[in-house]
């Protein structure tokens, strides 16, 4: 098989198992104290700044970053264990998720010293949240077609006009890393002329309009920029290099355990049901789902190990996200075929509630962060077909 798709097996990490045990203990105490209730897909929907700050206090945000920026210089394998435990418990991690996962690493890679010193320690404390400014009303999978523009004014500041959509939790976030066109579109090189700006979401001229998803929840927004003046020193990285930077960011966005564990709380509820019934068909279904989950863990762990080696495994990350998000959706179908349960958000039965939450969130799994069709195109390139 093509080498671009294959990663070396992940080494076993004692440090990761140790921090895993600590997180498990912390989560058990939080659940016992009633600070949160388990839900499906909480990395999109579970906004709880106080919970995020408690994670920050324990050193579980910005884990892999240098200490000088408030990080903890731990391995990607340790971070993997922490994020996996939080997701499996359905903990409310949405407030800080994007900032910790990709905005921080993006700043570390491309930010100025001033940007890093000002922002990274706040992210690591669980106090500063980010949105992704990529998709637009007319640009989804075809990201290079974005029209949000930024032009320099006479004082060297950026004047931004346009709109971004699906910006998760923009109403509860502080900054966005916004992909903008900084020079006119060049038909011969569609990826040229794009740049990333670090935008304070409280600036005048920014309007955040809610977009409700299927269960009525408010996570998505449209963020409209009308002559927003962004200080000149808030360019992230290099002018015109935005496409390249976005690609690097996507390796972080696409590779984590949230790409196969969004519906794990449903599996957990199903597992409790099967432990009670001992039903043969349910056992077989749980076995099939578990085998897929175990394979995805190994794939995802290999990516964490590659990140620890300093690699940016874009193609394997696209592949894992394709397989993982397909699994997240299949979980619902496998389970509903073998339980006599009607999904309902307000049922007294936790399995019925989890099925309902998962079903209403399901269309997003294989869209967000790059549709599975786009991901398979990337995998096809890895196979040498493009």
């Amino acid at each position: 098989m093509s080498n671009s798709l294959v990663l070396a097996p992940a080494p076993r990490s004692e440090a990761a198992e140790q921090v895993r045990a600590e997180v498990r203990e912390f989560l058990a105490a939080e659940l016992a104290a009633g600070t949160f209730r388990t839900h499906v897909d909480t990395w999109l929907s579970g906004v709880d700044p106080s919970f995020s700050r408690r994670l920050g206090e324990r050193g579980w945000l910005g884990m892999t970053w240098p200490k000088q920026y408030g990080g903890h210089e731990r391995s990607a394998m340790e971070r993997y264990a922490v994020t996996e435990e939080l997701l499996a418990a359905g903990a409310p991690v949405a407030a800080h998720w994007i900032a910790d996962r990709q905005s921080g690493p993006n700043l570390l890679r491309y930010g100025t010293e001033k940007q890093r010193e000002e922002i990274l320690p706040r992210i690591a404390r669980g106090e500063c949240y980010f949105v992704i400014g990529m998709s637009e009303p007319d640009s989804g999978s075809d990201l290079a077609s974005i029209r949000t523009r930024a032009s320099r004014d006479e004082s060297g500041d950026w004047v931004v006009n346009g709109a971004k959509v699906w910006t998760s939790n923009a109403h509860a976030s502080h900054y966005g890393i916004v992909l903008v066109r900084t020079s006119p579109a060049d038909p011969s090189n569609r990826h040229a002329g794009l740049s990333q700006l670090l935008v304070d979401l409280s600036l005048p001229g920014i309007t955040v309009n809610p977009i409700r998803i299927l269960d009525g929840g408010h996570h998505f927004n449209e963020v409209v920029f009308e002559d927003v003046v962004v200080p000149g020193d808030m360019l992230l990285g290099t002018e015109g290099d935005g496409w390249h930077q976005v690609t690097a960011e996507l390796a972080f966005e696409r590779s984590g355990p949230e790409r196969f564990l969004s519906t794990y709380p449903l599996i957990a509820e199903f597992g409790r049901r099967v432990a009670d019934t001992g039903d043969a068909a349910q056992l077989a279904a749980l076995g099939r789902l578990s085998a897929r989950a175990l394979a995805l863990r190994q794939m995802s762990l290999r990516i964490a190990a590659a990140l620890d080696r300093g690699e940016l495994p874009n193609i394997p990350a696209a592949l894992v996200k394709d397989v993982g998000t397909t699994f997240e959706a299949d979980v619902i179908d496998e389970i509903r075929r073998v339980v006599d349960v009607t999904p309902s958000l307000d049922s007294p039965d936790p399995l019925a509630r989890a099925l309902a939450e998962a079903q209403l969130h399901q269309p997003g799994f294989t869209l967000r962060g790059g549709t599975n069709e786009i991901l398979r195109g990337i995998v096809a390139r890895g196979l040498g077909l493009r």
Partner: protein
Amino acid sequence: MASDQDLVVETVRDILGGFEPFVLTADRRWDSGLWSALASAGLTGVGLPESAGGSGGELADAVAIVRTLAAGAAAVPVAEQLLVAGPAVVAAGLPLPSVEEPLTFAVADSVSAAPAGEGSTLSGTALDVPWAGVARHAALLLPGPALALVDLSGVTAGSAYNLAGEPRGSLTLDGVPALVQPLTEGQAQELRAGFALARSVQLAAALERVLDWTVQYAGERHQFGRPLGKFQAIQMELAEMAGEVVAVTALVDAAVQALGRGSSDVVLAAAAAKVRAGAAVEVVARLAHQVHGAIGFTQEHKLHHLTRRLWSWRDEAGTELVWSRVLATGLLADGGDGLWPALTRVV
């Protein structure tokens, strides 16, 4: 990716180069020439201790040999000998037969042992015995449980074959002398799991090779003036196949590592590997045939050598249904709340 196994893999590939896969029939049930070549090179004893008459080497070496032969659709009982029967015989303290003669393994639920003089005799019928009629010796897992080592010369083998034409006949045992060693229930289950893991290793290798063949074919076959692989519809199918192959490889590798370090969860790791590999066959074999078109549906093209083995191996050594229940039951051993801790512990 370089590894310690590169040399052994290269040796097997060199030998394999002289033996093209062929359509197995009742008259030509295995590749005896390939077996002889492998045996002469000492490759049929790899991973088995020299003190017991093996060639020495690590589990990883034996796995690498099995992978290479499986990807080449080699009709020889090497997986059974190196990964299942050989290690079981050695672990039970029974004398390992000459590694130059094929040794197979089967779960023989309808065979019983009776003491006879200093040894035992076996009676009953062993069903679905890999390479029945080809193997010279068999290690049989008997109810009890116990492991029996039996010389098959003179034993009648039934003629039954899997979907790839590999012998899977029965052995009728009527007071046949054997060496028998009792096992614990745990050892018996680990033996069944080892058999399932051996098939999983073969499945992983064959799945990967089928993907390679299909990608290659999509690059060579032109329709509408361009290679198939340039069509998005075909690219989506090949990418889906790749996803399955990468998933299986990752889990099978992890299960082999669990076996290698003597993990107490090796049964669950093997169960998961077998279930995952079997599930991948559904997607990979179907799409491989779809992309190859009609020629892949004939014996003139090589594809069937591996797809028919994939369809066979996925339900051998315990079906997907059996292992999925074993896996779920084991993961729930500490109750419903124990599921997540178990999932993060198994591999």
